[in-house]
């Protein structure tokens, strides 16, 4: 069995790419015949890979994840969620909401009630007094007589001829 100090030295020199041919044979024999040496070799090789990975990986997030599923520490499986009562309720609720929104978008409000058509004819324009005109009109109801009274705008004094 190879001495432990010697074994580690050989493994480390192998990692550094500095093994001679005879040392390479010595290490290969040790690994083949000694399970402990084999395990030790594998650990150093794994350490190489881990050190490389640590230097290239980002550190974990510092702040806790505030996503809705963070409390139980697990994101539910999609099929499991869809088959559950909560999942079905969510789906039907979403469909109902979508239907309401669709119907709402299709509905056109009725136009306000149109007033009765009145045919007003200016038959005669009467001057009531200075500044006022009376214009008789006709309504759809013959019992009602409509008279439109207009106020005339007084021109400024400077503009009076």
């Amino acid at each position: 069995m190879i001495d432990e100090t010697r074994l580690e030295s050989l493994i480390q020199r192998k990692l550094d790419g500095e093994l001679s041919d005879s040392e390479r044979v010595e290490l290969a024999e040790a690994i083949a015949n000694d399970p402990t040496a084999c395990r030790r070799h594998d650990e150093f090789v794994a350490l190489e890979g881990l050190l490389f990975a640590v230097g290239r990986s980002d550190r974990p997030a510092l702040e806790p994840d505030l996503s809705p599923f963070a409390d139980d520490g697990a994101v539910p499986d999609e099929e499991e969620f869809l088959g559950s009562a909560v999942g079905l309720s969510t789906i039907f609720g979403a469909l109902a909401l979508a239907a309401i929104l669709w119907i709402g978008s299709m509905w056109v409000p009725p136009s306000p009630t149109a007033p009765p058509v009145r045919e007003i004819a200016a038959l005669e324009v009467c001057s009531l007094s200075d500044g006022f005109l009376a214009v008789p009109g006709e309504s759809a109801n013959p019992d009602i007589q409509i008279v439109w009274i207009y106020s005339l705008q007084q021109p400024a004094e400077g503009n009076v001829r």
């Binding site: 402990t36 050190l51 490389f52 640590v54 550190r59």
Partner: protein
């Protein structure tokens, strides 16, 4: 007004290398940039205070590694409680147990690197994580090549024991 120091050019030339080394320790690209800038700022302060600098690149790399380790340790203290939760929140991976183990191993290794003696830590970061040759490490740390190799070997042995031996002080066995 821009102050041009005699070492400015060499410091700027070293900056990408500083960022790369710092990135291995702090594990955050933005913070690695900050570390490089802080190292250069410290160099300015040191020269202004009259400190004699033999190797600007070496001085900057040693400073950047010290700053990186300090920042990483501070960050670890804030984050320590969250790692287990972080590992557990990866249920979509094919084997959650394996993922948990990998994440914990990686983070344990990071902690172990931060706790190494200074020279061993600097050497193993430059060698294993930043891919430097022993010659480059020797130049940056201003030590001999044999000493650089010895630091790396000692660091590897310590890290291996930390990860896989039940008792890190024990020689062989689990």
């Amino acid at each position: 007004m821009i102050q041009v120091y005699p070492w400015s050019e060499e410091a700027l030339a070293s900056r990408p290398s500083l960022v790369s080394a710092a990135r291995r320790v702090v594990r955050d690209a933005t913070e690695a940039e900050d570390v490089a800038d802080e190292a250069i700022a410290r160099l300015a302060a040191a020269t202004a205070a009259g400190e004699s600098i033999e190797s600007v690149a070496g001085w900057l790399h040693r400073a950047a590694l010290r700053i990186s380790v300090d920042r990483a340790r501070a960050w670890v203290r804030r984050r320590q409680e969250g790692w287990r939760h972080e590992a557990a929140r990866r249920p979509t991976a094919p084997d959650p147990e394996r993922v948990l183990e990998e994440v914990e191993t990686r983070e344990r290794l990071w902690l172990a690197v931060l706790e190494l003696p200074d020279r061993q830590r600097d050497a193993v970061v430059l060698r294993q994580m930043d891919g430097r040759s022993f010659r480059e490490i020797a130049d940056l740390l201003e030590i001999s090549e044999a000493t650089a190799r010895g630091h790396v070997h000692a660091a590897r042995a310590t890290l291996r024991r930390t990860l896989w031996d039940l008792d890190p002080t024990e020689g062989r066995g689990r």
